[in-house]
Symmetry: C2
Subunit: 520 residues, 2 copies
Amino acid sequence: MKEKRTQNFICTTDFPVAQTVQGKIRGFQTNGIYTFHGIKYAQARRFHRPEPVKPWSGIRDALSYGFVCPLLTQDTPSCEALIPHRYWPMDENCQYLNIWTGSLDPQAKKPVMVWLHGGGFSAGSSIEQEAYDGENMSRYGDVVVVSLNHRLNILGYLDLSPFGEEYENSANAGNDDMIAALRWIQENIRSFGGDPENVTLFGQSGGGMKVWTLMQTPEADGLFHKGIIQSGVIEGFLDAGEGDGRRITEALLEELGLGKDQVKELETIPYRQLADAWLKVSPGLKKQGYYVGENPKPNDFYLGDPREVGFRPHARKIPVIIGTAFGEFDFGPGFPGKYDLEEEKILEILKEKFGTYAERLAELFKIAYPEKCLLDLLSLDNVFRAPTMDFIEERSKSSESETYSYVFAYEFPMDDGKCAWHCSEIPYVFHNADRIPICRTPGVMEKLQDAVFGAWISFARESRPFVPGLDWKKCGKDEEQVLVFDETCTLRKNFDHELVRLHREATGPFIMEEAENLQH
Amino acid sequence: MKEKRTQNFICTTDFPVAQTVQGKIRGFQTNGIYTFHGIKYAQARRFHRPEPVKPWSGIRDALSYGFVCPLLTQDTPSCEALIPHRYWPMDENCQYLNIWTGSLDPQAKKPVMVWLHGGGFSAGSSIEQEAYDGENMSRYGDVVVVSLNHRLNILGYLDLSPFGEEYENSANAGNDDMIAALRWIQENIRSFGGDPENVTLFGQSGGGMKVWTLMQTPEADGLFHKGIIQSGVIEGFLDAGEGDGRRITEALLEELGLGKDQVKELETIPYRQLADAWLKVSPGLKKQGYYVGENPKPNDFYLGDPREVGFRPHARKIPVIIGTAFGEFDFGPGFPGKYDLEEEKILEILKEKFGTYAERLAELFKIAYPEKCLLDLLSLDNVFRAPTMDFIEERSKSSESETYSYVFAYEFPMDDGKCAWHCSEIPYVFHNADRIPICRTPGVMEKLQDAVFGAWISFARESRPFVPGLDWKKCGKDEEQVLVFDETCTLRKNFDHELVRLHREATGPFIMEEAENLQH
């Protein structure tokens, strides 16, 4: 017999193996963390509700990430230095989840954190960003991390309900998949050392929207207990549009040369063809304000945007962390030598952009962010921050709500100082900052990561986010306690409301299509 | 002015910037290594020869990997625990290279190592595997690392020359791209601290084949000076097939509903359509032995497989390291408890597979690999090793040739012990073993990496591979000095010839299509 050695990587014919309701799966262990990639949690016919997978005998390998959902269009990689991506083979058969855990003991009952990826409801995947890897979060947070793929875009959100009962929830099939995953977790997570009674959803951008759409979904009640919404409330984005799926579907059928009675054909037509037809017919309808099927659509399953219909009583009681990044969609190049500019020169530049608003904005900015360069007013986000303030206000109407607010305001060492962009907090959340070169500022990276990561983990563990030395309280009525994450973290109360409202007014109408071109 | 801090990551508006013949580009610096991703080195119309890119003014960002060449079929990820992959958006406009270097001083004259990726001539990319990242190789080897994408499959190797002079080299357009990249390196690598007079090509699988096809290409003379061929000689693989491109092209035209005079249409038809047509018509022609355009085809540009046409005089003098992995295409599950089996039981299993050859093979195996489990005879590769022996023999006919031979024979800690598979040496070559969980065996990883990495680097630096304590000599006539890389590295002379020849005979005909299903 060959001498056994302590190994960092362990994967033998029968270890580590976990028992799920459907059958056994084998993952691998590295540095004490058990990892299972590509676990199939459901199966679904196109436009239909997901179903449990069939049981199997023997042991299946869970050593490779599963397919991700096909996308409408291909990305053109850019800004990879800001957000390193991972792409992956695509297939409709995409209901896969990944698990990282420090224990396979059913008694371990570790908090479970479920990552919902960004990309609106039409793009992205559970592994789309390098920073999404769950190993470090599991190790340093002593939690079970789960990430998942689900149906997206027309596969996940095209409303065919007018054409037959079998399509009753096709307008929310993607969210339906998430619920199937959450059910799978309820049934199986004990075998991975997790506590099914302490499940926290966290997600960024579209992932944040997924958190609150699931809060507004009765079927999800009891499947999760807390939510973290990172840059997940944006002006206008979830307007479903007028009407049901009849109009877009008829336009699709026509474009594809199918008759009105041939909706069934849409189930089997190659995805690429369907997607190309949608890309052709949807912009016109959308312009006219009609529903085109790119986002969840309110129905009996999903009750709608809480800023319009209010929070469901159950949703109100779900503790939430919610926040935004300082600069969000500002991915553009930096301003050379911004710290060397005289204030006079900066005001000149601000006036070019903000006209008569410039001076008042400058005053308000200096109060809200006294430590920052005044020129950062050019980068300040308002399309996430303003509706997030509304969201918090709506929540805070109820004394039952626990809502913790933050702004991620760190300035990164690029282009003479780059304000925090959309996604930039993710490496810190996952304790993966050292995997992302732009985060590796000695003396800062660890401190900032400890603050962000520590808050997320303590929230998952104890339902209250904790940042050492700060008394981060939940928001009250008209009292928003904001944790500003930066090189030095601070608590600021109602600190930027006037600034953001005026900035919103000054920057003029927000056009999602323009912002989408900037999204990563 | 904001206090400047020593930062691990540096990327300001004007640093690091390198001057190329066409214009300036900006990358980033991390931990002392300058990185430039996605530098466009050429442009090309489909089926035409590559041309230099147009000059630009100002500074272009080189912060994101460029498009990779479109593939005929999509991968189904599997065995990711063995070989972690990276996929990427695809486009024909794929002539991009990446550079990692410790200096931008034109006087630095560091050795240049150019990675040619695997995937036959039809798949893969410069970033397809996690292990391909050049940062550590550049840092720990003090070399300039370059990796590149080029045209693949029908975009890179479909012979249209019978249909017009403009297509004269479409049968080798992919290799033509590589030469354009090597020319770009000659013109520009000084600006990245590299020595254009010391360029080493290295590649694995298809990448190894690229090395020796470029050795047989007169236009490449002087553009590189040394070659490392890892698992790059395989039985039968580069048989171009009978005839020129007439037959496959006519079949394509017919399948696409085009006339014989409409070859020009193939230049603009969407790639997916062209690829689907090729996938449909090529298997039949291939079965009949005809050329179908998936590999380089001998012509005035590429002179052909040296085992058939001999080495060109120039190629003979290019120093080469060449070798294989012990198990190559054995990606299957391991044999539970193989080290606990009695020899009698093992012989029984061997007889099932090898029949009357079993006993003699066992004898020869014990002589060649006395330290290994006898059951590994099931995993032993011969379809690479046997033709590699032929390749070395052909080279060694000339006393001018310097050929260094190796077998990578490390057993990995998976499935009770897994023989080295196709690609498994790559993490050690790139000094990236600690990025690949399966390589992280304490006490072994560093030692094995030092040996492999040190040999590659010293070869690039001094034209002679060096492994401490071993006198790795070039192969002589009928004298193959083989460096066996393992937990303990050893030198063995002509140690496995009879074993491999007999093993080849015993395993029966090799069918590439079956092996392709196993390739990763």
